[in-house]
């Protein structure tokens, strides 16, 4: 039995939840897993794996996206970010000094690696997308990523290896030889599972992401949701929201749903309206949904790129938040020849291969 340290980033829950099938697989092989995380990521993984030891391991105090001007704010906060990575490395040293580990799995935590213990890095962004006017910065980021990836034995990319069915497009394209040599495309990874339930819900609207854009989208969608025909559920993604909302038999508005309830609703939905975050995309791919409308968070270049990419591929319709006309966009999503994501290997198969082809070489049976 070996001991694995799993450390996901706490920027949204996507990093934590895509580690759930990985941890399940490691535990199924009889290994011990310690979770080193903070905030909601630690809470979610702690609830999912009460038998695993969990360590409070702070990450980066940088706002994920507080406003439309995410990029300039992010650039301005880079020194703070760099200091946080240095702190993270020192913290990791303390954690590793306390216990013996055979493998370190870092999900997008840039300072979590060791020169003595095999370390792997999970990311779907080998490449950051910026507006063309910032092309020198994008080139620099490619070089920096290559340098950073050199710290790891493998870079695990939760995307399909075949370019034709790549879910992340250019984001998962290796830009340097260092990255190319280490990249292992494991396919989609998500904790959401397909259930044998009937698709009896016409529309599921999932409002998520950082404030204040989450609230802006909530207002836009709630103003328009009455105008569409069919059964509807709106997930506000806001546990603190107690504002009274109008409801009817055809339209339910739920402030917050558990992971299990959300999975059930996603399985039942014929059409999903949501942000184009990569975690949601992997969930939709896992469930094999064919109809959706994506609304990228304004200013989040990754989501904006993914929306554009899926439109270009003819897979899904996307619309900008401020141009959203729900009834019309749903009509376009259904009747303009969008095909949904192509068929691809699912999480269960991917995670089994990932273990056999990558993790197993570092772990004792």
């Amino acid at each position: 039995m070996s001991h694995v340290l799993v450390s996901p980033l706490n920027w949204g829950l996507g990093h934590a939840t895509r580690n759930i099938p990985v941890i399940q697989n490691l535990l199924a092989h009889g290994h011990e897993v310690t979770i080193a995380a903070c905030g909601n990521a630690k809470t979610v993984l702690g609830q999912e794996f009460p038998g695993c030891r969990s360590i409070e391991f702070p990450d980066y105090p940088v706002s994920f996206s507080a406003s439309r001007f995410f990029l300039p704010k992010f650039v301005a906060s880079l020194p703070v970010f760099l200091k946080a990575i240095a702190d993270e490395q020192n913290t990791l040293g303390l954690i590793l000094a306390e216990d013996d580990y055979d493998l370190i799995i870092s999900d997008n935590r840039l300072g979590v690696y060791s020169s003595e213990i095999p370390s792997v890095f999970i990311t779907h962004q080998l490449h950051y997308h910026l507006p063309l006017v910032f092309w020198p910065a994008e080139l620099l980021a490619v070089a920096f990523n290559g340098f950073h990836h050199g710290k790891y034995r493998h870079v695990i990319v939760p995307d399909n290896p075949k370019a034709g069915i790549s879910l992340a497009g250019k984001l998962s394209r290796p830009g340097t030889d260092t990255t190319r040599k280490r990249a292992y495309f494991c396919g989609i990874l998500t904790s959401t599972r397909k259930r044998a339930v009937k698709e009896d819900l016409d529309y599921l609207l999932m409002i998520s992401g950082p404030e204040p854009q989450r609230s802006h989208l909530e207002k836009i969608l709630l103003d328009q949701v009455a105008g569409i025909v069919g059964s509807r559920v709106v997930l506000l993604g806001s546990p603190d929201n107690h504002a009274p909302v109008e409801q009817s038999d055809a339209c339910r508005i739920i402030p917050y749903a558990s992971t299990s309830d959300k999975e059930d609703l996603m399985n039942r939905a014929k059409c999903i309206i949501c942000r184009s975050g990569y975690t949601s995309m992997m969930e939709i791919a896992e469930l094999g949904k064919r109809h959706a409308v994506f609304i990228p968070t304004p200013g989040q270049t990754e989501q904006e790129y993914l929306s554009w990419y899926y439109e270009k591929k003819g897979w899904f319709h996307s619309q900008r938040q401020n141009h959203l006309n729900l009834a019309e966009d749903i009509r376009i999503a259904h009747h303009s020849g969008y095909t949904g994501f192509p068929d691809m290997p699912k999480t269960e198969e991917n995670v089994a291969k990932l273990y056999d082809q990558v993790f197993a070489q570092y772990l004792d049976r």
Binding site: G51, P58, N90, L139
Partner: protein
Amino acid sequence: MNTEDEPQAVYTGADHQSTMDDLIVAGALGLIGLYLAAVIVLFAVFSFVRLMYHSFVAGDAVVIFLGVFGVLIVLSLYMAIGFCVQKTDRI
């Protein structure tokens, strides 16, 4: 191992002596370069605007024409290189 009843260890690297990893050194150098470039660009923009203003006040149309033409050339070249880099899948 279930540690629900055990006190939680909280690790904060900020409290400890920093060991300078080359990733941090590279990041710091990159940031210095980025901010220096920003300062140079801002200085160039400021100098250009000042030159244009003085030329306008002095009625020097040739300098204004050459200045605007030069800026258009530089911006076109910058964007053209960007397109090339994009088309060749480097970004």
